[in-house]
């Protein structure tokens, strides 16, 4: 029982530490120091920090850039990806079902099974809807990673505080 409570506490403090990384470096240090001085329980600390993080993240949406990115890139690319996946899912699911549903131990030792599998998979990847889908996946992931890097690099949520004023 005691070990379980201790594990939960450790997990909560680990979570606090992880979500604190969403704050900028100065504020993170100040909050960590304040938590170190306080007698807060792990749950209280988690609630407090979560509240602060949610507020900081919501502040991002006061700027036009996230909205522009959402409407110009994320939503159109997301819809394209969704249509491409749906058109691809129909034919490929039949072949995959045939391969997966019929697989058993004796079949896995059959060379013919593997031969057929090796024929089907490249054919699926070469099939008509796969290429546009893959061509969407690449820019989508690139834009996603750029968006992920943008807030901390270019959007300052809080002005930088002067040192020892």
């Amino acid at each position: 029982m005691g070990v379980r409570v201790s594990n939960q506490r450790t997990l909560a403090w680990w979570l606090v530490d992880r979500i604190l990384r969403l704050l900028d470096a100065e504020e993170r240090e100040a909050v960590r120091g304040d938590l170190a001085e306080s007698c807060d329980s792990a749950a209280q600390a988690l609630r407090s920090v979560f509240h602060l993080i949610m507020h900081r993240q919501s502040m991002l949406w006061q700027y036009p850039r996230p909205w522009l990115v959402l409407f110009l890139f994320v939503m159109p690319l997301g819809m394209l990806l969704s249509f491409a996946s749906r058109s691809h899912a129909g034919p490929s699911s039949i072949y995959l079902w045939l391969v997966v549903n019929n697989a058993n131990l004796s079949l896995l030792h059959n060379a013919g099974y593997w031969y057929t599998l090796l024929q089907i998979v490249p054919a699926l990847l070469r099939s008509h809807p796969t290429r546009p889908m893959l061509s969407i996946c690449h820019p989508t992931s690139s834009i996603g990673s750029e968006i992920g890097r943008t807030p901390s690099a270019q959007i300052s949520l809080r002005r930088e505080l002067p040192r020892s004023g």
Binding site: E29, A30, R32, G33, L35, F50, P162
Partner: protein, 103 residues
């Protein structure tokens, strides 16, 4: 007009003087009110009050007591002092003829 929590924060910061920073203000408010004061609420309110020019904050030097972590120091500006004084006068004024009694 200040809110209740803003007034508490200003008063705590003013009473702590040069020792006013996140954790000490929090302790002061908790001692005075007997209620828990969350770090999130404190920092969000500090940001808002700083944007209104009621307080000034800056990062202090790291101290060994906090594992070498810096403090976010707070000072009440003249504008903040005027706002707190005005709030206090309003509370005193409106309370003048009221005796709070509980049965």
């Amino acid at each position: 007009m200040l809110g209740e929590f803003e007034y508490l924060l200003l008063t705590a910061a003013a009473s702590l003087g040069d020792e006013a920073y996140g954790a000490s203000i929090r302790r002061q408010i908790e001692t005075a009110t007997g209620r828990h004061c969350s770090i999130g609420a404190l920092y969000i309110t500090l940001d808002r009050m700083e944007s209104k020019g009621l307080v000034k904050t800056w990062m202090g030097d790291p101290t060994p007591q906090r594992g070498g972590r810096s403090k976010r120091m707070v000072r009440v500006t003249p504008r903040g002092a005027r706002a707190a004084s005005s709030f206090y006068s309003a509370v005193r004024g409106v309370t003048r003829n009221v005796a709070w009694e509980f049965e």
